[in-house]
């Protein structure tokens, strides 16, 4: 008896997540294959195109990394908000505002001066605007009592309206304004990269730093502990001399700043201009990543890589198989739903056993 009680936690600590992951992947595989058979195509062929389209060559893999970076920044940011119990659905809009801030700075940089200075300022402006947009949602929650899901969504739509207005109004291309975005920036104002690289190694480095710093801040620092305390029991927190509202606002601002940084990288590193769909839906996708990771940090980089590969791989589908590229979103959603199912069933079993 004594042996089994000591062994079980250790065994289940490694085996349970493994079994769960296999179960989740199995359900997703069956669901997706069934779906593809229903629309009359070969699942194997579709999976092959998804694989080839994402890991088939270095150039394709670098595109995957270009999706991975903003996804990591958004997901890491979301973790801070989730720790305090906030659903920061507004990441999408915060990313857009970051892109707007960065574009505004880089436009100033067109008149000359050191490109490094302007890129640095663009980064700061992107993070600042993202954080302020998040603060607005947080403040409406704390002061106005409106659930952050609704303010966040509302502000997302407003942000998209703002981008469209800028592209068709004050920042329109010389000649005619169009959905293709603003005038591209000259090469010296692009986010620095290495010769022959389609993804900036510096941006990858930035994402890795954010992962490590977040790991330390959330899991090892006093600050992370306080965030968790606010999320677990906001009423007990004032007893320890902490202000829950202040922590909520700080958490959502970090969330917004990281999303803003992602938006800045989209402008300066990927598109080199402001386009209407500058966020590419990575904010919402980040929410799915964090949910699939069960709100833990360590699985996030791997899940984000998988999701980024799906996004890039699915670009091939319309051309090769006349399938809509939204298949990637269906698979990503199916992953999260089967994870919720598996985690839920496990909890039910534990409750029955207890």
């Amino acid at each position: 008896m004594a042996v089994s009680t000591r062994l079980t936690p250790l065994w289940s600590r490694y085996a349970t997540p493994l079994i769960d992951s296999l179960l989740i992947l199995g359900i997703v595989f069956l669901f997706t294959s069934g779906l593809l058979l229903v629309v009359g195509t070969s699942p194997l062929e579709a999976y092959g195109h998804l694989m080839k389209g994402s890991f088939g060559s270095w150039s394709k893999f670098s595109r995957v990394l270009n999706v991975w970076i903003p996804l990591i920044l958004c997901s890491m940011g979301l973790l801070y908000a989730f720790r305090t119990g906030l659903w920061n659905i507004g990441v999408e809009g915060q990313m857009v505002l970051g892109a707007i801030g960065a574009t505004a700075m880089l436009r100033l940089g067109l008149d000359g001066g050191s490109p490094w200075l302007w890129l640095g300022l663009a980064m700061l402006a992107g993070m600042l605007l993202g954080a302020l947009w998040a603060l607005l949602a947080g403040w409406l929650k704390v002061w106005g009592g409106v659930h952050e899901i609704f303010t966040g969504l509302g502000l997302n739509f407003v942000a998209v309206g703002l981008v469209l207005w800028l592209i068709f109004g004050p920042w329109k291309r010389p000649g005619i304004a169009s959905m293709s975005g603003t005038q591209p920036f000259p090469r010296e104002l692009w986010f620095p990269t290495l010769e022959g690289w389609r993804v900036s190694p510096f941006a990858i480095g930035l994402a890795l730093i954010v992962i490590l710093a977040s790991w330390w801040l959330l899991n090892r620092s006093r600050f992370g502990l306080n965030l968790k305390a606010v999320g677990r029991n906001p009423r007990a927190v004032p007893l320890y001399g902490l202000s829950p509202d202040r922590y909520l606002l700080i958490a959502i601002m970090i969330s917004g700043a990281l999303a803003g940084l992602a938006g800045m990288l989209q402008v300066s590193g990927v598109y080199h201009r402001l386009i209407p769909a500058i966020s590419s839906g990575y904010g919402y996708l980040g929410l799915l990543v964090v949910m699939l990771a069960n709100f833990r940090l360590l699985p996030i980089p791997f899940i984000a890589l998988f999701f980024a590969a799906l996004n890039v791989g699915s670009i091939q589908l319309p051309m090769m198989m006349q399938l809509d590229s939204s298949l990637s979103g269906v698979i990503q959603g199916a992953c999260v739903l089967s994870a919720l199912l598996v985690f839920g069933l496990r909890r039910l079993r534990q409750r029955r056993l207890a």
Partner: protein, 326 residues
């Protein structure tokens, strides 16, 4: 441009509001029972596609609306079972479903996009439809408009004047107490989640077959599911106020397009997103009215208090919380 008679504008407000009323009332029923179904935005898009597809293939509107309602109920069932029986966060399940259903709609509906499909025609009610002004506004409408108006009365009566409605509200306010009274809160919650989802499905099909006929990418109803969710809060979970909220939103949409021609200097994008900040402001207002300080301030202004008092409404106390019979 403004040579459109007022009756035409008002009629189009009613038509624009109809699917929103249906969806928001469906969500009101679900939330009154204590479950929050956040999947509306994706669910409406998927059922719009299903409705169009079935009508295109079978030429039967009855089958199309039935299929859309069934799919709506199926999506709601996932929220219900995961949330109520598996104890998962209802918000998480709903959000994942929203994103997935949206992509599923575009994936499965791809072969049907931009096809000329069947479309419902307005149904003129004999005699009543001939009344000047009122006739064209109220009685020369598509079927879904009549359905939405009847639904308001039906939901109101069911919630506040029937025994089952009382049980529904009891489950949403205090499932533990309802349980000791011999009601199974989880079964009730699942039932009303399914009914709410079916109504959302009907709303989705109402768009693709009637209000914004056709199917394609983008469909033009993206975001309206979120508006419907916000309208439920705005309406304080009361079916009549919820319906008024939907009408107000439709009014803003229809007259926003008209206003645009008055101020050509203001870009179109501002009018397109204007309802969203207005909705946030309305939610702030509704919430501030619950505050003690604001209430005391209002006590000294009876006229204003009477007016704003109508806006107040508290959420069902067990909203979003999973009941467990232990």
């Amino acid at each position: 441009m403004n040579d459109l008679p007022l009756s035409v504008l008002l009629a189009s407000v009613l038509a624009t509001a109809a699917p929103l009323i249906i969806a928001a009332l469906g969500e009101t029923i679900t939330e009154k029972a204590g479950v929050i179904n956040l999947s509306l935005d994706g669910s409406m898009l998927l059922t719009a596609m299903v409705g169009f597809l079935v009508a295109y293939e079978t030429h039967s509107f009855v089958l199309a609306f039935t299929a859309a309602a069934a799919i709506g109920a199926l999506i709601a069932a996932i929220v219900g079972i995961f949330g109520i029986y598996l104890g998962q966060l209802q918000v998480a399940v709903g959000f994942a479903l929203t994103l997935m259903c949206k992509d599923l709609a575009y994936f499965l509906g791809n072969p049907y996009s931009r096809l000329q499909g069947p479309q419902m025609v307005p149904m003129k009610i004999p005699l009543l439809g001939d009344i000047p002004f009122i006739g064209p506004v109220l009685f020369q409408q598509p079927l879904v408009v009549y359905f939405s108006l009847l639904l308001i009365a039906a939901v109101w009566w069911y919630l506040y004047h029937s025994v089952r409605g009382l049980e529904l509200r009891a489950v949403g306010e205090n499932p533990e107490a309802a349980y000791t009274r011999g009601i199974d809160p989880r079964r009730k919650q699942l039932l009303y989640t399914l009914i709410g989802g079916a109504l959302v499905g009907i709303a989705g099909a109402a768009y693709s077959l009637d209000i914004k006929p056709g199917w394609g990418r983008p469909q033009g109803i993206e975001g309206l599911g979120w508006i419907a969710l916000a309208i439920v809060i705005f309406g304080g979970w009361h079916p009549i106020k919820v319906a008024l909220g939907a009408l107000l939103f439709a009014f803003l949409q229809v007259f926003g397009i008209t206003l645009q021609s008055y101020w050509p200097g203001i870009p179109a994008q501002v009018f397109q997103v204007a309802p969203f900040p207005l909705m946030i402001l309305a939610l702030v207002l509704v919430n501030l009215l619950q505050r003690d300080g604001v209430q005391r301030w209002l006590e000294r202004r009876p006229g204003l208090a009477l007016l704003l008092g109508k806006l107040r409404g508290a959420p069902p106390r067990a909203l979003g919380r999973s009941f467990h019979p232990d």
